[in-house]
Symmetry: C2
Subunit: 500 residues, 2 copies
């Protein structure tokens, strides 16, 4: 067997073990009875270690070198070999005992975080979070020395290949400069318009579920290769061949579940649109979380908040939720869907203030890793940064540094992906509409065909061959460009079409 | 680390991998979208091979010998070591290439069987089934030579430890002699009583589900450590720490779903009642399928078909299904629940004719393995045996040798477990009622406490320490005794209390 074929087998095995774990993780969040957590934790630990071992053997470096010395002739196979090396570097750069120590520390810290958040008790989290920061720094150092990258870049690269502090910093500096006045202007315009009429529920859960399913189907979600269920924290999991997405329902508020389903369906369409022949190999996987997020935001923020789609949604919602169409008047629905507010909680933030939440985290996580910020000083640093950058000062840590699961689970360097995704979504939607002007009229009929086809042709079908910048360059002629997001916001919220 | 501790770690890992696979198998049957079968098959294959490898390493024999040379002082640990050897013999006696070849052959044969059954087309199955028979024979030979057992005994021992053709043969001979006249007498009595009034539906699925859940709760099923869902073929899966049972619903017939839930809850109570400290070790597992089946039949056939429980069920069903109590009159319900009939399909058979279906299979599977019966002659041999032993001749193979999944999946030697379970259930129920006469009056209130406690004390809490015969001897003073089943049938169906 050639070295490359041997590698393919190992990555195949890696995929089967990882996707098994992902499936059990979906079950834990959507199906598992509350008393079975111990067993599930042990199962997931075993599977994740085996998945890691499948591509971290001592002979991997030799196999990769040997395969690279006589690379396969097929273009996809060659790109697969590149993606293999990338996966291997992230998997194998870290010594096994550090992998294990960090895995134990993050599991324990996540549990402690749940309690700490509930009780608004940062002090109880401090020792465990300190350990996670230390171990994550060590992981960053180990990866960095192998990849010739700084600690932060080495960590961020796992989530978004090619993400580098040096290019993120000017990008975020620009958003930090331009977004606050833009938000002020939006808030002033909102104030002039007065309060939007209430969308008065209750909206029955089973009717919301039927509406969500209808919209997912309209978007092209293939229910023969996926499911939609309920979990506390909505997500899109499973595997490309079996996508499990979840949402949650609030009888008082159908918009959040509906837009949540559209968001997760955006992720799901990406997974379902990956090249089937390559699903189980690195080159067949989504290359990074920024690009993944771009696909959910393309659907949720870009397409579904257009006046065209909101018009369709007003009608569909009235029908599915069995309420009077007058109650779901387009104007009321739009003002709720497009409401902007300086607020505490990132996951509830609108698209205009959201990047400011990310900047807070981008600054703080780098300071934590470098040691410039001591973990014990995180609460006050977080409040100060929120006040300075978002413009509101949280009164509690629950509304502050305890709100997100990322740091307790060691996911330092992940946050920029959200804003990379938002920017990429702005670029892709503008390019899609320019290339296929019928997309907007299609959306007014709840028809996503044109947009989905554009996304498939320009993003999904490439699998993991290109990074975000390359995908954007090929599709739009430009790499990641914060201008696109700013232009989009000015146009949508201020009717300012300058530059577009 | 001592050899015994090393073994414990390996069996722990084996359990975590096996239970992960079982969980994914439950998902495949209860949740998975139809288009994801390829991925799931590959995931299950990988996990089952890894589970096998965890306890089949080349050094296992040495480790076992070394642990046995200085056995642990604790009684449970010592019994665990015995159970480990047993698991290892079944896992490791078969060469890896034979394990893999058989696994591939049975997967492929099971798929072919589904189509063959649907189309009543045995010819299409013949080549694959022939291969499965040949490979299974080789597995039996490999195990048999290690265990000093015949091919059939070596295979049957995997499902029911200690099951031997030499003791099953006289047992089945007795049932084959005594059951047919007993069935004739029951049928004559049934004819004299005339037709039972119909239980006229439709009975709404969600109401049947609520009734099933109510009954499972009354039985003591712990919904914080398990779930009840729907699948085409009802089963009890998952793991002792997270029991996933399923049922199916027919709007025209609520009795089959209700009794199905009670059956699976019997299995589930056994799993949930296993000693928690030992769940992940061999000594903490159910020792064999005969004993497992005894626990489902103890609940479904023994307890739930007593006049006492049927009285409770009539009331609960009227309430949950929202139908007139007069329609669910005890007499009508009883006659449906206790209907006896010579019929084609084993899984639909009543308790009086069921062992006859098993005898058909016990005879034929031995003949297939020995080569006395060629696989191509299976259809006619099956029809002949059905006619001779059950008393009805199937017109089709779908109603004949294609009805069961066991042989296509290589499960030769499994069928006797069903009748071992039925006999054991008769013995255990009689002993339980003798020991705790209040059980019957409790059942008339839908209260399973006494029976569950008896089952827990005499069966569940022992985990895998004793085989079926030992469990029965300790609980009832006798090993497996077909008299108990015959006595039970005469008493229930003919009001004949002689010998009891």
């Amino acid at each position: 067997m050639t070295a490359y074929r041997e590698l393919r087998q190992r990555f195949d095995r890696h995929y089967l073990l990882r996707s098994s774990a992902d499936q059990l993780d979906w079950d834990a969040q959507a199906m598992m009875p509350e008393g079975s957590g111990d067993l599930r934790g042990a199962q997931l630990g075993t599977l994740r270690v085996l998945a890691h071992e499948a591509i971290a053997g001592e002979d991997m470096e030799e196999l990769l070198a040997s395969a690279e010395a006589s690379p396969p002739s097929d273009e996809w196979e060659r790109d697969n070999l590149v993606a293999m090396r990338r996966s291997w570097v992230h998997a194998a750069a870290v010594p096994a005992d550090l992998v294990e120590a960090r895995s134990r520390a993050t599991s324990s810290c996540e549990l402690a975080w749940r309690t700490a958040r509930k009780n608004d008790d940062f002090a109880s989290l401090l020792p465990k979070l300190t350990e996670v920061v230390n171990l994550t720094r060590q992981v960053g150092q180990a990866k960095g020395s192998r990849m010739k990258l700084s600690v932060y870049d080495a960590l961020a690269d796992e989530y978004e290949p090619g993400a580098r502090e040096a290019s993120l910093q000017p990008l975020f500096a620009r958003l930090e400069r331009e977004l606050p006045p833009l938000v002020d202007a939006i808030l002033a315009a909102q104030a002039r318009a007065g309060e939007a009429p209430e969308l008065v529920g209750p909206f029955k859960v089973e009717r919301q579920a039927a509406l969500g399913r209808h919209l997912a189907e309209r978007m092209g979600f293939d229910f023969t290769r996926g499911r939609l269920d309920v979990s506390v924290h909505p997500f899109c999991g499973g595997a490309a061949e079996d996508v499990r997405m979840t949402t949650r329902y609030d009888e008082a508020d159908f918009l959040s579940s509906v837009l949540g389903v559209i968001h997760e369906s955006g992720h799901a369409l990406y997974e379902m649109g990956l090249p089937r022949a390559w699903t189980r190999q690195p080159v067949g996987a989504v290359p990074g979380m920024g690009l993944h997020e771009s696909q959910s935001l393309l659907m949720e923020m870009q397409a579904s908040r257009t006046p065209e789609f909101l018009g369709y949604l007003a009608g569909a919602a009235a029908q599915y939720l069995d309420v009077s169409p007058s109650m779901l008047h387009l104007d009321a629905l739009s003002r709720h869907a497009l409401r902007v507010e300086r607020s505490f909680i990132r996951v509830e933030a609108d698209e205009a203030t959201y990047p400011l939440h990310i900047i807070v985290r981008f600054n703080i996580e780098r300071a934590l890793l470098s040691g410039d910020l001591a973990v014990k000083d995180l609460p006050s640093a977080f409040r100060d940064a929120m006040e300075r950058i978002v413009g509101v000062r949280p009164e509690t840590d629950r509304d502050g540094c305890l709100q997100d699961v990322h740091w307790p689970t060691g996911a330092f360097g992940y946050f920029p992906s959200y804003t990379i995704g938002a920017i990429a979504a702005s670029q892709l939607f503008a390019a899609a509409v320019a290339a296929r002007p019928s997309i907007l009229s299609e959306l007014s009929r709840g028809d996503f065909t044109g947009l989905r086809t554009y996304a498939h042709d320009n993003v999904h079908q490439h699998g993991g061959r290109f990074d975000t910048n390359t995908i954007l360059e090929r599709a739009t002629g430009r790499g990641l460009d914060p201008d696109a997001l700013l232009r989009h916001l000015r146009r949508r919220y201020l009717n300012d079409t300058a530059g577009s």
